[in-house]
């Protein structure tokens, strides 16, 4: 398969007064052309830092290292900031959570849409304008020509996010990284935006890396899923495998926490994961989930747990054998 993005052993280290924080600890995945990888996890699991690390947009004092980091086969690690800026917004583009804070309030929509195109293509302003109108129509904005003269505050949240998507598409990127693109929106608008993103992805054959905490979104848009916990990927596989038969106790726990219309009974207790995420100082010395895991045993705290691959594209990070994980899940579902 043609991987548009290849990430192997990505680490982010942030030196602080009392030591080193390691919020991303050896993360590996691929995003394929025309496919969607969802990275799912709760706050502080390192999912947003992972995306910023790929774009080389980490805060200055954070240090990024990786075994491999390649976009369409081209290495992203050795390149200087100038070359990176040529890629950003061009070959790879990002859509952020809050369109109001990521759009510049002092410039018109048109100005902001055209900027990247003018920067990356030797285009005239008229060509850039034409492209902007074309894409605004593509993302379902009517009267696109007159929208170009508007400022972000004149648009609703849904429209702003559409503008953000149009902006990401201006240069026809190979990869889109969307970090919680619909979290600030209403359910109706959320469905529209995700629908739009999926159809544009098919049309332009882009790879999409979507970061979210919402398991409903993951189920509906992902081809592959990577579940992150405390800076590590704890489980990965196709969306069907992960939802039908979650292996890692954290994935199993997460899926039990959400009410599912028609499945969970009204007013009954939902599952929960007691405890808190461990601090991410220094190197891992044990399973990071052990302190919250219902199946924890001495082996979990003796050494870091490696990712165990099952077949070509499924892996999980747990000391228990697959059969035991499956049995645990079956018991929990029956209970």
């Amino acid at each position: 398969m043609s991987a548009i993005l290849e990430v192997r052993d990505l680490r982010v280290e942030i030196p602080i007064a009392t030591g080193t924080l390691v919020p991303v600890r050896g993360v590996s995945f691929q995003v394929e052309r025309g496919k969607t990888l969802c990275i799912v996890g709760e706050s502080g699991c390192g999912k947003s830092l992972t995306s910023l690390a790929i774009m080389n947009l980490l805060p200055k004092r954070a240090k990024r290292t990786a075994g491999q980091l390649a976009l369409a086969g081209a290495d992203l690690q050795g390149v200087d900031e100038r070359a990176m800026a040529d890629l950003r917004g061009n070959k790879m583009a990002m859509i952020f959570q809050e369109p109001m804070t990521s759009l510049n309030p002092a410039y018109t929509i048109g100005n902001q849409l055209e900027e990247a195109y003018l920067r990356h293509r030797r285009a005239t302003r008229a060509e850039a304008r034409e492209r902007a109108v074309y894409l605004l129509e593509k993302v379902g904005i009517t009267a696109a020509g007159s929208r170009l003269r508007q400022y972000p505050h004149q648009l609703s949240g849904g429209l702003r996010q559409r503008v953000m998507i149009a902006m990401a598409l201006m240069c026809g990127p190979d990869l889109i990284i969307a970090d919680e693109p619909t979290t600030a929106l209403d359910v109706t608008i959320q469905a529209q935006i995700l629908h739009l993103l999926a159809s544009l992805q098919r049309e332009f054959h882009m790879g999409v890396m979507l970061i979210t905490h919402d398991l409903g979104i993951v189920a509906r848009v992902a081809d592959r899923v990577a579940v992150m916990y405390a800076g590590e990927i704890v489980e990965t596989g196709t969306v069907h495998e992960v939802f039908a038969s979650p292996l890692h106790p954290y994935t199993q726990g997460l899926l039990r926490c959400i009410p599912v219309p028609g499945k969970t009974r009204r007013g009954e207790h939902l599952g929960s994961i007691p405890g808190v995420v461990p601090a991410l100082f220094g190197e891992a010395t044990q399973c990071s989930f052990a302190n919250r895991c219902p199946h924890a045993m001495p082996a979990c705290t003796a050494a870091p747990i490696p990712l165990t691959a099952i077949g070509a594209d499924r892996a999980y990070r747990c000391v228990l054998p697959v059969e035991a994980c499956v049995a645990n899940q079956a018991r929990a579902v029956a209970a």
Binding site: S156, G158, V187, T188, Q190, H195, A219, C257, I258
Partner: protein, 328 residues
Amino acid sequence: MTAARATPILETADVRRTFQVSAGFLKPRRALHAVNGVSLRLAKGEVLGLVGESGCGKSTLARMLLGLLPPSSGDILISGQPVSSLDRKAVARRIQPIFQDPYSSLNPRKTIADIIALPLKVHRVGAAAEWPAKVREMMDLVGLPHRYVGNYPSQLSGGQRQRVAIARALIMRPEVVICDEPTSALDVSVQSQILNLLLDLQRELGLTYLLISHNLAVVEHMAHRVAVMYLGRIVEEAETDRLFGDPQHPYTRALLASVLTPEPGLGVPDAHLGTAFPNPIDPPPGCTFHPRCAHAMPVCRTIAPKPLATATGHVECHLYDTEMRQAS
């Protein structure tokens, strides 16, 4: 339900709230009908879910129920007594809020004990010497370890902060709690803990909840009845099973169709709602939903629908009005 027939613990009768808003520089101010004739009844011990898109007037309604904002017209009754005849403190004793963001709703410079005890202080309940015991009792109730009494909100996690907010809301033993997006700011694993806690407290203390949420799965899990709000009006209200099983109003159907349940392979639904949520200053004539409605008839553009009784509630839609259907 017989409980609904008894005097409701909280009732609104055709409540309206209008704001005068600026329509632009040098233009005359215009009226925005944020809440435009809402009649709701909450029976004791009931959980009523209130859903709708942002800007539909949910929060304005909540603020009026809390006595923080007087209605422009219409009545709010607590156990049959009009709120206008009670002073604000009397309202606050009986109705308490839990807000969305536990990061901004707690005073960062007060300790947890101070925050939870504040209502006692405001309402001058008992002697100050008794407050610490009451605070501890509340902390037990919401599952906060006593060691946090002297901590500040910044030292607590989001879930713990929301527990503090719940303890503060319940220390006066209110009858009604207005939960405005109580778990939207929380992580999935914490959300479920808070929802479990809210359910337990509701049963233990016989509380009545108005649960405002955009998360329809949460509403279905928690609520006995659900009201759907659109541009300041309740366009459909029904018992939860009915509403989710057999939605009547096209807007309710579109809302439910937009819910992304965690079932892989189904793809993202297209609710065919169109992009534009109408400008509330300039609402469409007739049925305010008609520009987005797939079933709009000519009559919908001119005449506003009246509430029609359904099996367990009401719906405001001409589709269910034989007279109007024939007129079209």
